[in-house]
């Protein structure tokens, strides 16, 4: 049908051959010849063409040659037809070339267009696989391979679908050639194909352009190595070229997203501050904090209605039960406001915004928002007892519709009323096409097919995240976060399946992981799913079962490092190892998970779990041996892939205190001899980067880490002097205090002469702690009888609540019998001009400096600019105190692990032992 309406017009450029654009991977000549800059690739050159399919109306006009101009390192192509003007600006973007299009309608009628790029490769170039953008790739045979549209496999009970990474690529064993778009751009339809007969690779998208409207869109062209996985390398190039796509609001300073998700521990239950802190919980998914789906405000006129299923008599929020059939609106709203205003920011309570505004109680939608209903019958359309558990819901479109207007307005109102830290967006998936009245508006992201115009749900949800980010613009540390369940835009991503759900992980990964990218996230679900994981657990002996469940815990740990995602308390109770690894897991998560893992293992090494985080001198590699035997061998990290700057990276075995590592700088690789114990995660962290000379040599590295200082000692075993700048790593909450080369001060980034056997040292000092952990822990928090033995003095009233955190801390310790039962509350006293004293914690807010120090007279002083930073510093101090007041959470009944199971393997009130495997003994 569409074919009969459409025609293909090609804009071929005349041959005026010379290099126009170049990246490290490829070159684009002015005659649109794409050249592979790799010496030994699967392809040498290809011819790039832009084309336009014209849909529906059948406009047909040959396009002539474009006007070509060069502007600031870019190449601009311009075609003008009676119907439209299409300007493409080509420029390097990371390792790729980006084509930014502006497509302006000159027609009086609406245009349905499908602009695309296509590459024709040489007849004798051979490729073995085609990547359509989904998680798998297809073997190339004689038949053409293609993907049309963005609907993938149906996922979840709500019937949204997977969405391809916006790429169409071909690859062999050496490298790939690809064209595509940019993730999260407002696009509702893309297509890609490979025809082995004509050697033609295509990628296109569909747009609807109203009269006089200009639609902008972005496309890409690239080449990537296939050495460490072709798809992975392509995705990696996207992370590097478009870091803003995966940038999180407030970055590293976002207080909510760099930890664990509570999985209702702070929503259904009354939050316990110390419990939450010790579990590393920093944000929470506040499921359905309203009565009626679609009405987050709980409007008076919408409060009383007849639900599809009976209201739950025991809806629980923060430990308070509500009978939703009887609770008055005023009572519910009063409690809601109290909960969020009191605890919202402390526990990162992300307000669940009625499934990303994509589902609404059916009668409400039909009555008030009929234009918003998403009539896509290919996906779930009406669901009974879905999000609220009592409503019948219908899918709606939350953007530029009557519902979208109310939805956005409600989010703004709620932000103000409840002082929200952010929103929780459930089912953040695409794959549902809205075709209602709003598609008549000249919105970005409109597409078309044989049923008419539409906008995919992904466009609305991505817009929604931008909207949430901009509800509060100032102050910057109050901006709202978006906690999403899905693969779209957002700041923290929930994977709604526990690691034990191997079926779902097999189905979702790696595509979902590629979309998550360097963002933080977590696995959410029924913990160990013990009933499913060990269906015959009843028949197992306690010993057998303990052995098996211990392995499950290690499986979770291995996967946390593999995917760079956290877990939740159902896997943590009874398994202190899970909490032990949080420090490293969070540090790596902050560095940003990467798709390409440029690592070469010595023949015979079996290492099922590998991951890479960060880049250049801030990279980390994780290796996990899940087998039963120790694995030893040489591991080589490919510096070319890790660092764009031609640096050779030096790595140390990552430990919390001391480590010794020998690096062999061998060609473009850094090689280490590694020992991978069974079921122990091993991490190498980059320390520094140098420009290595032709000579291969080794480097011996000693690392010494203290709470307040880190020292790195490197001895180069080179035979010949060489010149190189030194680049050293960044360490969060530490500052570089000095670099010396053979005892002489040198500066980072400046060329220095590195003579044979040179010794390089660099030091960092903590921006928080002035003292070692031993010195801090020597403070008399408790006396010989294990009773609290200190007081807190504060210099301002806004420090009183913060000082109470010490009481919360020791209340927890008392309740867990870590200190004496008759231990008293810590006394807090406001003093106008506090003087540090022995046995006193002095909290000084409003100071120029920010430090935690032990004073000569054995007092403990916390100085901070403001209450917010003082709060963060106290959190850091409490982590240190945990070393002295360690609490191991015993088994308890959690999702996926019930009492009967715990009793069966005889672990009631007990916990597994753990290894301090990130600490040298």
């Amino acid at each position: 049908m569409l074919k009969s309406f459409s025609m293909i017009v090609l804009g071929l450029l005349t041959v005026t051959c010379s290099a126009a654009l170049q990246t490290s991977q490829l070159q684009l000549d002015k005659n649109m010849t794409v050249r592979n800059l790799a010496k030994k690739g699967d392809w040498r050159q290809a011819s790039l063409q832009f084309y336009m399919n014209i849909g529906q109306k059948g406009i047909s006009a040959e396009m002539g040659e474009p006007q070509v101009s060069e502007v600031d390192g870019s190449m601009q192509l311009l075609w003008t037809t009676p119907e439209y003007r299409w300007q493409v600006t080509l420029s390097p973007r990371g390792k790729m070339i980006e084509a930014v299009s502006e497509l302006t309608s000159l027609a009086t009628q609406e245009l349905w267009l499908e602009p695309g790029m296509r590459l024709t490769v040489a007849k004798d170039d051979t490729f073995s696989r085609f990547w359509s953008g989904f998680g798998h790739s297809a073997e190339i045979g004689k038949e053409p391979l293609h993907r049309t549209g963005i609907k993938g496999e149906m996922e979840k009970h709500v019937g949204a679908s997977t969405m391809p990474f916006p790429v169409s690529g071909i690859f062999g064993s050496k490298d790939s050639l690809f064209i595509g778009g940019v993730p999260f751009d407002p696009v509702s339809y893309t297509a890609g194909s490979w025809d082995p007969l004509t050697k033609l690779l295509t990628y296109s998208l569909r747009v609807v352009v109203s009269p006089q409207q200009t639609v902008t869109f972005r496309q890409t062209l690239g080449r990537a190595s296939a050495t460490y996985g072709a798809q992975e390398a392509i995705v990696q190039q996207y992370y590097e070229a478009y870091p803003e796509c995966w940038a999180v609001i407030m970055g590293q300073d976002n207080p909510y997203i760099w930890g664990e998700h509570g999985q209702y521990i702070n929503w259904w239950l009354k939050p316990e501050p110390e419990l939450s802190r010790r579990l590393g919980v920093t944000l929470e998914w506040t499921y359905c904090p309203y009565k009626r789906s679609g009405d987050m405000l709980c409007r008076e006129e919408l409060w009383d209605y007849k639900p599809y299923s009976p209201f739950r008599p025991n809806k629980t929020e923060m430990g308070k039960r509500f009978d939703m059939a009887k609770t008055s609106r005023e009572d519910y709203l009063r409690h809601r406001q109290e909960f969020f205003r009191r605890d919202g920011r402390r526990y990162g309570l992300m307000f669940y915004n009625t499934t990303s505004g994509t589902w609404c109680e059916i009668n409400l939608a039909k009555k008030l928002y009929p234009d918003a209903i998403t009539h896509d019958k290919d996906v779930s359309y009406i669901l009974n007892t879905w999000s609220t558990h009592h409503d019948q819901e219908i899918r709606v479109f939350p953007w530029q519709t009557s519902f979208g207007k109310v939805f956005e307005s409600d989010m703004v109102t709620l932000t103000k009323e409840l002082d929200l830290p952010g929103f929780a967006l459930d089912c953040a998936y695409g794959g549902a096409y809205y075709r209602g009245p709003a598609v008549e508006k000249p919105l970005p992201g409109r597409a078309w097919d044989d049923k008419g115009k539409f906008i995919d749900q992904n466009v609305a949800i991505n817009h929604q995240v931008d909207f949430i980010h901009n509800i509060i613009k100032e102050p910057k540390n109050r901006r709202l976060s978006a906690f999403i369940n899905g693969y779209l835009k957002g700041d923290y991503v929930m994977v709604e399946a526990p690691y034990m759900n191997t079926g779902k992980y097999k189905r979702w990964m790696p595509l979902l992981r590629w979309y998550i990218g360097p963002r933080p996230g977590c696995a959410h679900g029924h913990g160990y799913m013990l009933k499913e994981a060990i269906p015959d657990w009843h028949s197992r002996s306690p010993e057998e079962l303990r052995d098996m469940i211990g392995k499950l815990s290690d499986y979770v740990i291995m996967n946390q490092f593999k995917y760079g995602l956290g877990t939740t308390y159902p896997t943590q109770y009874g398994f202190p190892q899970q909490l032990y690894i949080q420090q490293e897991q969070h540090e790596l998560m902050r560095a940003g998970w990467q798709a390409e893992i440029p690592i070469v293992l010595e023949d015979g090494m079996r290492v099922p779990y590998l991951a890479r985080y960060g880049r250049g001198p801030n990279a980390y590699f994780f290796l996990g041996n899940s087998g039963t035997e120790v694995v030893k061998g040489k591991v080589r990290f490919d510096n070319q892939a890790v660092s764009d700057d031609g640096l050779s990276i030096l790595y140390a075995l990552k430990m919390r205190n001391n480590s010794e590592t020998t690096n062999l700088l061998d060609g473009n690789f850094t090689q280490v001899e590694t020992v991978l114990p069974s079921r122990v995660p091993v991490i190498y962290e980059a320390l520094a980067g140098i420009r290595k000379p032709a000579e291969d040599f080794s480097c011996e590295i000693d690392v010494n880490k203290q709470l307040n200082e880190q020292r790195y000692h490197l001895r180069f075993k080179n035979q010949q002097t060489f010149s190189s700048p030194l680049f050293v790593r960044d360490i969060r909450n530490f500052q570089l205090t000095g670099i010396t080369l053979n005892g002489q001060d040198v500066k980072a980034g400046v060329d220095v002469q590195i003579k044979p056997n040179s010794v390089l040292e660099f030091r960092y000092s903590s921006q928080i702690f002035n003292n070692s952990a031993q010195e801090i822990l020597a403070f008399p928090f408790t006396d010989a009888k294990n009773r609290t033995a200190f007081s807190v003095q504060i210099n301002s009233e806004n420090g009183r609540e913060l000082a109470q955190r010490f009481n919360e801390y020791f209340d927890f310790c008392r309740s867990k019998e870590l200190i004496a039962a008759d231990s008293s509350q810590v006394m807090i006293e406001k003093v106008d001009k506090p003087v540090p004293a022995a046995g006193v914690v002095t909290l000084l807010i409003g100071e120029d400096s920010e430090k935690i120090s032990v004073t000569p007279n054995k007092g403990l002083v916390i100085t901070a600019h403001n209450a917010e930073s003082a709060n963060l510093m106290i959190t850091e101090l409490l982590k240190v105190m945990d070393l002295r007041y360690e609490y191991v959470f015993p088994f308890r009944m959690v999702s996926g692990l019930n009492w009967e199971m715990i009793r069966h393997f005889q672990m009631m009130n007990k916990a597994f032992p753990y290894q301090k495997y990130f600490e040298a003994q």
Partner: protein
């Protein structure tokens, strides 16, 4: 030796001519038990929670279930990861995660001329402290599979269980079946659950274009069925061990888009089992050939009924041979006439027409009484006489 040979010959003859058989074959790498008579071949996988994983209607060589898939994957640190395709029929327990891969112990295998029977057992069915004895019987010359099970609470606390026949199948793999659901009108909730409310008692048809993904409906009868315009078969599931109403219900869930999946599930009333207490259930899978629709099942007879202008057109099909008999037809309490029904066998439908005489203006339910004493009352159609 001579006697042994004779035995083998007789045994061979027996196998060839016996109506029912039970054999073991491999499907997807695991042994399945195959119960077979002249109408049905049912494949049961003890390793897949004792599910019916294959069902073939032999006269038409029609597969009613998607191919069984059983995969075992080895992953370090984890027990064997078993994946079982979700097609087929099994006993689930409402509110408890469905385990598809429990290994049932085969306790008994019986194959005689009159019937083939398989019995399986699990001590902790679905991971719960309750044992599960499941049996299946295929009888000679019956287009029907009998499925029964007994649940026993082996724990030390009471268990409330709601068994559920989870059934994923299709009459035609190319297009989604309609599900035929006899339901009561005017009820929106049962047992704290919302159900699809309809205005009056009726045979509700969940058609392929119904937009609600899943529905629960109050049971007006103990059976539900499925039909497909591109199949001559009607398949029904019937609970015969107890009444479904008022606390049991029907459940049906559809796949998205073009998916042919549309389940038909009978969810039993909740049963509280004290420690040591047990409870038995019995279901039937019934296959009627040749009928265009199904309005009622009475014993072994499937009944379709359509009211034309001056007559009632009846269709009957059976799952077991039924001798000739009469059927008295009533509208309300008024007798409309007597039908002489021929001897009926599975594999075809029998059409009978009943002329309507002069009747007063009325709206009356249609009912019938067979000569055997079995009787029925149709939910629909109702006889509406207008002047």
């Amino acid at each position: 030796m001579k006697y042994w040979s004779l035995f083998l010959i007789l045994f061979g003859i027996g196998v060839v001519y016996a109506d029912c058989s039970l054999t073991v074959e491999e499907r997807s790498g695991v042994p399945v038990r195959i119960l077979k008579n002249r109408w049905i071949q049912a494949e049961i996988a003890p390793q897949a929670s004792g599910s019916v994983v294959g069902l073939r209607y032999l006269p038409l060589k029609q597969e009613l279930m998607a191919p069984f898939i059983y995969k075992v994957e080895k992953i370090d640190l984890l027990p064997d990861q078993i994946q079982v395709s979700s097609g087929g029929g099994r006993t689930a327990l409402w509110g408890h995660k469905l385990l598809l891969d429990q290994k049932m112990k085969v306790n008994k295998e019986e194959s005689v001329s009159e019937r083939a029977k398989l019995e399986m057992f699990h001590q902790y069915y679905q991971g719960l402290p309750c044992s599960f004895q499941r049996w299946m019987i295929l009888e000679r010359d019956a287009a029907m599979l009998k499925i029964g099970f007994t649940l026993k609470n082996n724990g030390d606390t009471p268990l409330t269980l709601r068994p559920w026949d989870n059934l994923v199948m299709q009459l035609n793999s190319q297009g989604r079946d309609d599900v035929i659901i006899p339901t009561l009108g005017g009820i929106s909730q049962i047992g704290g659950m919302g159900v699809q409310q309809v205005s009056h008692d009726q045979i509700f048809i969940k058609k392929r274009d119904m937009l609600t993904k899943e529905i629960k409906m109050v049971a007006a009868r103990n059976w539900l069925a499925r039909r497909n315009n591109d199949s001559p078969l009607i398949f029904a599931v019937r609970l015969i061990s107890e009444p479904l109403s008022p606390d049991g219900f029907f459940y049906s869930w559809s796949g998205d888009g073009a998916s042919p999946i549309c389940t038909m599930e009978v969810v039993c009333p909740p049963a509280k089992l004290e420690p040591g207490q047990e409870r038995a259930y019995e279901f039937e899978y019934l296959i009627f050939q040749g009928m265009t629709d199904l309005k009622e099942i009475c014993g072994d007879i499937g009944i379709n009924c359509e009211i034309q202008k001056n007559r009632i057109e009846w269709q009957f099909a059976v799952v077991r041979p039924v001798p000739e008999q009469t059927l008295l037809v009533y509208a309300g309490k008024q007798e409309l006439g007597k039908l002489n029904l021929p001897a009926m066998r599975p594999g075809q439908a029998y059409q009978v027409s009943l002329p309507l005489g002069d009747l007063p203006k009325s709206k009356l339910p249609i009912s019938g009484k067979f000569a055997t004493g079995a009787s029925f009352e149709l939910l629909e159609p109702q006889l509406v006489i207008e002047n």
